[in-house]
């Protein structure tokens, strides 16, 4: 097992897969899904109450994966914790052997299943990265000295399809300055758009993992186009899905093609199966990974 920044430094094409903790305490399925991919992916990216839906925490599942010899990435968002809790959880992650950290702002609570909750956002993704960087230097945000310094591999996210994209790039640069060592992107379906984006951010000299979300149907593609910011599925892919007799097979074929096309443009791929975890091995086969 190696930390993600070490893999990027070794010029490896990094493959991570997203895995969501359950709503409840039965981890059977989550651990089964991870086990299916043992030896096939570099890390498991564990979501932090994704879409603001209350679930089991990211950190305990990261820890359990680590115990089983699987490398986790701890997603940590600013939605539910203030700077005291965030820094404390970063320290906790380190002592539990969890060192890959993905720093996110987090979805707003109004999009989840507890819309009346108080949204925190005491820090944002940039200041969270700064906090993690400071902790590594043995200091906290209040300037107090730590007993023992943690070491992290710090990641962040970016949306190549954001419009205006300059606004995404300004923030991406801030994240690099704040300590981000790698990026993963929102789902990309247009290699040309991604190529233009990668060209624009090449000056940042930071590894980027392209985000791949498995399309399940033409309806899902249309839904994302209408509702998901920064995601655009082109009409030809929607048609391809629509006409396909076997949707699952077509979904994998499209995702594998996207990975093959974008592989030369970036340093890794982050797969978000959203319920189709069991199909990831087939995708990896098809993509030659």
């Amino acid at each position: 097992m190696a930390l993600l920044n070490e893999l990027f430094e070794a010029k490896k094409f990094v493959v991570t897969v997203e895995i969501g903790p359950p709503k409840g305490v039965d981890l059977t399925e989550a651990l089964e899904d991870a086990e299916l991919l043992r030896g096939r992916v570099d890390a498991f990216n564990v979501t932090d109450q994704q879409s603001s839906v209350m679930r089991l925490g990211s950190l305990p599942l990261c820890h359990l994966l680590k115990d089983r010899g699987l490398e986790p990435v701890f997603q940590i968002t600013c939605r539910d914790r203030n700077r005291i809790a965030l820094q404390s959880d970063l320290l906790s992650a380190y002592v539990l052997g969890v060192q890959n950290i993905l720093c996110l702002t987090g979805d707003h609570v109004s999009l989840g299943d507890h819309p009346q909750a108080k949204p925190v956002f005491d820090l944002d993704s940039v200041s969270l990265l700064q906090a993690a960087s400071l902790l590594q230097k043995g200091q906290d945000l209040a300037g107090k000295e730590l007993k023992g310094k943690p070491q992290f591999s710090l990641g962040a996210v970016v949306t190549p399809g954001g419009d205006p994209v300059e606004l995404q790039i300004i923030k991406m640069e801030k994240k690099v300055k704040a300590g981000a060592q790698f990026f993963q992107t929102q789902a990309v379906y247009e290699p040309e758009t991604f190529a233009r984006f990668m060209d624009k951010v090449s000056y940042l000299n930071v590894p980027v993992m392209v985000g791949i979300v498995l399309l399940k149907s033409a309806a899902m593609a249309r839904f994302m186009n209408k509702n998901v910011a920064g995601v655009h599925v082109p009409e030809n892919l929607i048609e391809e899905m629509d006409k396909a007799p076997n949707k699952a097979q077509k979904s994998i074929e499209i995702a594998a093609r996207l990975i093959r096309e974008m592989r030369p443009l970036c340093q890794g791929v982050h797969i978000m199966p959203i319920g189709w975890e069991k199909r990831v091995p087939a995708l990896l086969d098809a993509a030659g990974l």
């Binding site: 707003h108 200041s127 700064q130 949306t159 419009d163 300059e166 995404q168 801030k174 920064g230």
Partner: protein
Amino acid sequence: MIVTEQKAFTEIVGYLNPYKRLFIVGCGSCATAWHTGGETEVREMAGKLQDMGKIITGWVVVEEPCDERKTKRELQRAHAAEVAEAEALLVMACGAGTGTVAMAIPDKPIYPALNSLYLARLERLTRTDERCVLCGECVLAWTGGICPLATCPKGLLNGPCGGYKDGHCEVDQSKECAWVAIYQRMKNLDSLEMLETIHPPKDFSKMTHPRRVDKTPA
């Protein structure tokens, strides 16, 4: 201005259930401009309560009920007799106005008729939007006069999240993304480089309640 909305009449009636004789206080400032607690609304409220059999001992629209001097002048002097006859007061002002009335009349129960919503720009007589959260350390110098704390649901200080689409916010697609608006304004002002600065987290100690300023010389 402070934007308010009238509470549901059933909620107001619920509070006033134990009382027969009431005095109503309106606000001559924000609640008059926004038509939630001016003279017209106070008269309407009085009429509806009278229809239910309540006795309105009197009413007044205080120029600024959040100004304790003006409130005391009206309630303790000009309308003292009518207030004395009432068992309770209903205040049609923001929380600051209602709270000030409570301080001025310590011996009678006070009830709010309005919910206080936000500090706003009055765009036109029927439209306002939130512009300031009274954070205690104004950031407008580097955001082109558009407050991200008041106009971004996450109050982000270092640029947008990934949730903007066609310039709109994913939390409420009818609203524009604060950071797209800031970006466009800074671009027009040829000051985009100002967006490159990393801003430290907000000092929330400046928002610890209750905040109080006393400019009286010691």
